[in-house]
């Protein structure tokens, strides 16, 4: 591997009985970049991250972090990474400062250096004023921030974040995303999982889209958009269900794909202006009435839809 690769994943597999949680994936995360793993619920993101952070033994395949194998050099891997788990993992009966101090010690820090770093991290996650309060009494957003802060204590070369913005208010979410970028500017490599495509779009240098244990696409944002050929998605709602409308629209010139997706129908087109009137005409021929239209310019959502025939947010 080249010296500027932080994480290298080779043909990684993990099955839980019949569930192929991760089914042969390969990717590389370059040093200093933000790499997003985007996928719906159950795609296998957490399972992948668990193997990278030495929590799970892969069934087969290999993970190298900063050149160290998770199999043979787990301690070196663990020392190099800071993991932000998807589920908040704190000691709720300890204060924010006590939590940070304890976890700092687990990373081998001690004394004045530890104390100074705890103060810095408290500042970074905006909890300086609440340092002495028991973390169990914190709001959801504050707990999330502390959950992240713990992973930053030892200045890890690689920060692995598993859906760090789930279930929090937009303000806290904003500050977390800004924080991730700031850490990245300071040199940290970030592996970021999410099922929010906007987050992946905003943050990442590279994005891997994951579904059912497979990587179905990997590239920069622009590269992925190009996959769907600059197509625009039109979501249409009908007054009543009408199975005949799908084949009718499929016949319309300029329509490349038609999908039914809970309650509304999606059509992928190259030029929405040219196609829209014809969609209305086709609907009329099968006695369907269009009651709602939503036009979406190409984004990762469309990429996912294009590749899987399903909407990202619904899994």
């Amino acid at each position: 591997m080249t010296t500027n690769t932080s994480i290298e994943v080779r043909d990684l597999k993990k099955y839980f009985g019949p569930v192929k949680a991760v089914d042969g994936i390969d990717f590389k995360v370059q040093q200093g970049e933000i790499f997003s793993l985007l996928g719906p619920n159950g795609a296998g993101k957490t399972t992948t991250i668990s193997m990278i952070s030495c929590l799970l033994q892969p069934d087969s395949g290999e993970v190298l972090v900063m050149g160290h194998s998770t199999r043979s050099a787990a301690q070196q891997v663990k020392a190099a990474i800071g993991v932000v788990p998807q589920e908040i993992a704190l000691y709720e009966d300890l204060s924010a400062r006590e939590n940070l101090t304890f976890w700092g010690k687990m990373y081998g820090m001690r004394g004045g250096m530890l104390k100074q770093r705890v103060d810095e991290v408290l500042e970074l996650i905006g909890l300086t004023e609440h340092a002495a309060r028991r973390s169990g009494k914190f709001s959801g957003g504050m707990k999330r921030r502390l959950n992240i802060g713990i992973a930053l204590l030892h200045h890890p070369q690689v920060i692995i974040m598993d859906e760090p913005t789930v279930g929090i208010d937009p303000q806290s979410r904003r500050s977390i995303l800004d924080g991730v970028r700031a850490l990245n500017r300071e040199g940290a490599t970030v592996l970021y999982t999410t099922h929010y495509m906007e987050e992946a779009e905003e943050l990442s240098n590279h994005i891997a889209i994951m579904d059912h244990g497979h990587l179905i696409a990997l590239g920069t944002h622009a590269e992925l958009i190009r996959l769907v050929g600059q197509q625009t998605r039109i979501d249409l709602t009908l007054n009543a269900e009408n199975p005949a409308v799908l084949p009718a629209w499929q016949q319309v010139d300029g329509v490349s794909q038609v999908y039914a997706e809970d309650g509304h129908l999606s059509v992928l087109v190259n030029d929405s202006n040219a196609v829209l009137p014809h969609l209305f005409e086709a609907a009329t021929t099968v006695d369907a009435r269009i009651t709602g239209i939503d036009i979406k310019e190409p984004n990762l959502e469309a990429v996912f839809l294009h590749l899987t025939g399903r909407a990202l947010r619904d899994g």
Binding site: S53, C54, L55, Q75, K78, A79, I81, V83, P85, E87, I88, A89, L90, Y91, D93, L94, E98, F102, W103, K105, M106, Y107, G108, I150
Partner: protein
Amino acid sequence: MKLLAITLKDMTRSFRSVFALAFMFGVPLLVTGMFYLMFGGSVGSEGAAFTLPRTRVVVADLDEGSPYFQMDGDNAEDLQDMGDILTHMLSGPQLAELIEVTFASDALSARAAVDRQEAGIALVIPANFTRAMIEPQAVAEVELYHDPTLTLSPGIVRTLVERAIDSAAGPKLGLGVIVKQMEAAGLSPDAAQQQSLAMRLIGDTSGAPAELVTLRASEGEAPTADPLAAMLGLIMGGMTVFYAFYTGATSAQTIMTEQEHGTLQRLFTTPVTIPTVLGGKYLATGLTVLVQMIVLLVCGRLIFNIRWGALPEVALTILGTALVATSMGIFLISLLKTDKQVGMVFGVGLTITGMVGIFSAFTGGAPGASSVADRFALFVPQGWSMAALRAGMDGNGLVAVLPFFLGMLAWSVVFFFIGVRRFSKRFA
């Protein structure tokens, strides 16, 4: 050091939990306190609110009196000597609810009545009883022979006997005798001299009566200093052992709850090894049990005046208990798959074994009835801890405690290895 940081963190957490503290210290102290109020109250005050089963006491009053001892002429009951006074007190109306007094002609038939279970207690007042009260050098032995299944009544009767000697007979009668002797010798002390004599006598006799009475069970139990404290000692000792094992499991339970809350997995994403985590937790649990036992035993000593025995014996018992309670906790928790099954460990694993182990606390350590229980108790680790504690209380020395300590050590080793193996497999 990471291991110690884990220990410190676990201990901070458990000492911050009100629930854990209540279990650790509150409940054992409360239970002992309840017994203290129930029995201590009835012994201490004449009008007992608590009703005890009535005990038959057969008295063999062999007291021959003393030529120097004369009662004032105006007593209606024709009391001749100290033995008469004592029996009169015991059969008085105030005690009628507690004891029923019958008489035997000699010590043998009194004891035989107990052996035939016609009476619970035989009280033998020796021939030199009155003389011993008057002549400072003479020592009389009042014998209390009792049914081994009785735990409480012998203690109560004993206390009554002591009180009788103490309050009624002791200084006042003693003074009368001395004054008579002085007059016989041609001296006539004035009021001030009599008072100072009385004071000196009170001072002299305050400790003496206790030595007059020895409590003897049928099989010859070692004498105990204070029957109430001895009874409370067994109860509090039992409670201490019982709840020490709970603490051993609750702290080990943190492994399960940390897994459930994800902090255990998070620990394993940091450069810390499984043995360090388990070791830190084991140490935290052991130290917590240690703190708990020390606090409880010290409280028992200060509040209830319980004598736990010599320091080395007690220390050995505490150490052994901390080891085995912690290992047993790790073993039991390692059998579980989820946090939800914890109730089973506490219900079946700890409550039942705990009850078996500390059964002797309720039989009062009396031989016979409890010897079967004692043997059963050794099937569970709590029994070994309780036995060690009792050996220390009986004052039989380090040699008596050592086998039980070694037994606890053996239990610990077995539990520890099975428990740690199962945990390591789970997280490997």
